[in-house]
Subunit: 309 residues, 4 copies
């Protein structure tokens, strides 16, 4: 390591161009980039401190970043930092704030009047409760029902706001007047996080199982901001993390049999693992088997305990 | 340090007696102790690891705990841990959850229907906006106004709940149906935190500037639970932290003059520090001077720039 | 959730039996269990708070823990906590302490004399530098060389200790006298961590790539302590985490071709991904291809770009 | 809050000038600034998000920063971040790394050969063990003794390094060869931390009780780097934190009596608090009384239980 000499601050021109510009999300939300520290280059630089003089030029930058991502060497990614200004419905913010590794300054409705805006739902945006997944939604209600729901929603939000204003006019303290605002009310915050923890946030919140609202925000952060900031990291994240799949010890054992052309042994193993319990002629539901079947299908394997596939 | 020998698990009988018993807070909230690790004795034990063999019996336990608290030696307090089951309005929970050093499992309104209960306000509990403190309240509105506000509140909460139920019946996903629930809706959580971070929570949330709702919860935790769990720590916390006061460099300089019987020099210093700017004959408001005046009065000093006190 | 009624504290009898008993590690190190909070049952309890009333008995405990582990639902595992008393060479402790999510009280060599013990190496325990892995070792040096090295080691440690004592006798402050103690000197600490973060520690430090010393400690924690404390979690950890393997997006694409019986397409893809660069007739080294080859072999696939397998 | 419009990145020209330039510390250590995010202005900006529109221009920047510091409103200070490249003896690094809220990439002596440099002690730099403070030093040993100690130190460091090299030449793995290096061996790291946590580090490590070595580093960070980066914060930190003093509940009670001209009552209170236990005619040592006496003297009070002052 060279301990001498003046250096220039790391800049990412593609990111400087969007500093402060709001990306719209939902009906009245946004994300704005406020500041950043570091770049793909800074990750490499930090990783090379660990490696000392020995590795100069041994790895190319891109290869090194991909290696770090693949092997979950996470500390060099902590060397980058980003600060966003976001406007988000409180309901969505409740999920967001569960990520404890960020720094936050949120708009205070003790100090100032609540932001006069709420997340409104369009007629065709009412999502149906999923049956298979207790905490998910699937498809949309039809427009007529939706239209009625949207109208009723608008009325409730109006009523809540009117009551809020009446309380303030009656002299009620802001900290108490706000108590019945709907969760759909927008809040704003400065949110600062390092890249390692941002990737964790994105892995969970860009995921298909994340709620649509927070997924919308996460996707903007990933596709519009991170992709410009650290393009090599963004690419490696998608290959090795976001689109990767994990095989458990048992799943590996079953695939080993299938790859060796021994479907009967694979079936036998599945039985031993308790995946194939029958209720008469029908397989009983088993969540772990279902997940395995999805992986096998995605990998082009024939599932040995299912006929006619 | 003695590395040998079987030990018994640390127990606090006074705490075992209240395990699981709900302490009521607000109209329908509670705090229940679920589990704990350690005691005053464990703090001492951990501190003595640092000190090695050299210190056995040098300090008595109580003296050592008081020393650690006074000098902000915080790591031994991390050796104790507590787990609570709480029921809290979401608005209050929004403040609570800002303490990032705790572990949390919250009731999921994606997975299950929202708890059918909200924080209702009694007629005589509507607090007035403080004028001096933008983020505080002071006193109560009169009962007639309050009665009207409480009625209107109950109606809004009823309407919100009815709409929530209608959405669920129409098949809207729970994750979306909840979006306009009022912030006063109760949630529940398991909340686990170590003693050092709990003391920080209590210092901020038992404080007179904390909002009444969260102060009510914090006070129960301190007075009902911590006082039984670690009585020496609780006592030291009150003496050296909760009821302590800090003097800035400038405040010390001014007190030095007052203690030496030189009020004119104290006044001169206050002027040099920019505390005494006049608007004609009247002192201009200055927040730092005001805080100093409160400290001087509390310490029985005559304030040299105020006549007739 | 039932908010009423007294409960008993969670106990794990199998763990109570080993409280305080030292497990020996290395020549003079140990691990002793000091205290714990929670059990497999507490993980389930916390997870069910999230799920509300809806799920009682829907999942059996073991199934739920396995589900949580498989899907990286980590917060319920934070609800368990463990406290250990460890004696570790400082060199090993330097790695250990990099896990920032634990609470620590370490023996202070400012306050007390350094522990008079160092990690000595047996004649046949000198490990050879790995060639393939710059940060690993492989096999042992032969006994004659080792014997010489061990003798020289013992002499250096003796000299260092003698000098340390001489400094103390000359009146040098402990904080300075210690400055040239060898890294092999033992230290002691109380170390407290929650189960989620402990699993992360074990995943990294029980791994074959971890240095032998810290692996020895991690293995004792896993096999001797965690296996008694939370046996369901320990089992699930091994299946879904410790012995799991991850397939990147590209690796999945290649396996898809192999499973469909199209090795030529698999080979073509590998080429497109830049895995198959030739230096004349020989494949150039490529770390990502090498890792893929190991996975394919372990899964019983024939590697399409290698002949004669 | 204005959600529109492109912004420029925050720059601190005074800091840009020293980017990369090493500040020397100890005989062969250094601190180099690598990057930073934010400035005094960013703290103000984040604080104002909390306050909403209501406060524009109400506070001046400097006043707001002083207010935040005085009242320990810490989150806005988290909005600034700094990254340093440091070279530090391992013994000192052992203390440094206990601050868990930073991001770190350290030079790896598994991967590369250990840095060939150690902290050497000049003849006149051997510090004497303090008698009053078990973990401190006071004054220096005389030069003749020091000269002998320095010679012996140099020899030990030479021997250790020679043995290290012999091990490497014999083929011992780097991860094991390093095991007996002296704690005085230099290591290097990239260290990144937010301003709030940096202030906490400086408050502890610039303190007179901190060990001289780490104090030397902390002082450079404070006086050379922070003072240029966030001059308003640096000033406020010194006034309200570094040079502030805390009065416990009891200390306030005693000062109240002294300020009211009632020394006898102050003395009586001290007795009630257990500060004045006598062993015949002499006061028994009592640490809390001693700390109070120091505060009283510093504030120009006559100590009522000591005659002849």
């Amino acid at each position: 390591m060279d301990g001498s000499g003046k250096i220039e601050r790391v800049k990412v021109p593609a990111l400087d161009e969007i500093l402060g510009v709001p990306f719209k999300v939902l009906n009245d939300g946004f994300i704005r980039l406020i500041d950043y520290m570091g770049s793909d280059e800074s990750i490499v630089q930090a990783a090379r401190v660990s490696y000392g003089k020995g590795t100069k030029k041994v790895h190319q930058d891109r290869g090194l970043i991909r290696y770090l991502m693949r092997h979950r060497h996470t500390t060099p990614f902590e060397m980058c930092e980003i600060k966003l200004h976001v406007r988000v419905p409180m309901d969505c913010w409740r999920q967001w704030i569960r990520h404890r590794t960020a720094s936050v300054n949120e708009y205070s409705t003790r100090y100032s009047e609540a932001i006069d805006s709420a997340q409104l739902t369009d007629d065709d945006q009412w999502r149906e409760q999923s049956r298979g997944n207790r905490q998910g939604s699937t498809g949309f209600l039809d427009g007529e029902v939706g239209s009625e729901l949207s109208e009723r929603e608008a009325a409730l939000i109006r009523d809540s706001r009117r009551l809020y204003r009446e309380r303030l006019e009656a002299g009620v303290a802001r900290e108490q007047a706000r108590k019945d605002l709907p969760l759909s009310t927008y809040t704003e915050a400065y949110w600062k996080i390092d890249l390692h923890n941002l990737l964790h946030f994105l892995a969970l919140r860009m995921d298909a199982h994340a709620q649509w609202e927070i997924r919308s925000y996460a996707t903007v952060i990933g596709e519009q901001i991170l992709s410009r900031w650290c393009p090599m990291t963004w690419e490696a994240f998608q290959d090795y993390r976001f689109h990767s799949t994990a095989l458990s010890r048992r799943e590996q054992q079953i695939i080993r049999m299938l790859a060796a052309g021994r479907p009967e042994d694979a079936r036998r193993l599945a039985g031993e693992f308790g995946f194939l319990n029958y209720d008469g002629p029908r397989l009983k539901p088993n969540r772990e088997r279902k997940e395995l079947e999805e992986k096998l299908q995605s990998l082009n394997f024939k599932i040995p305990w299912l006929d006619g596939r």
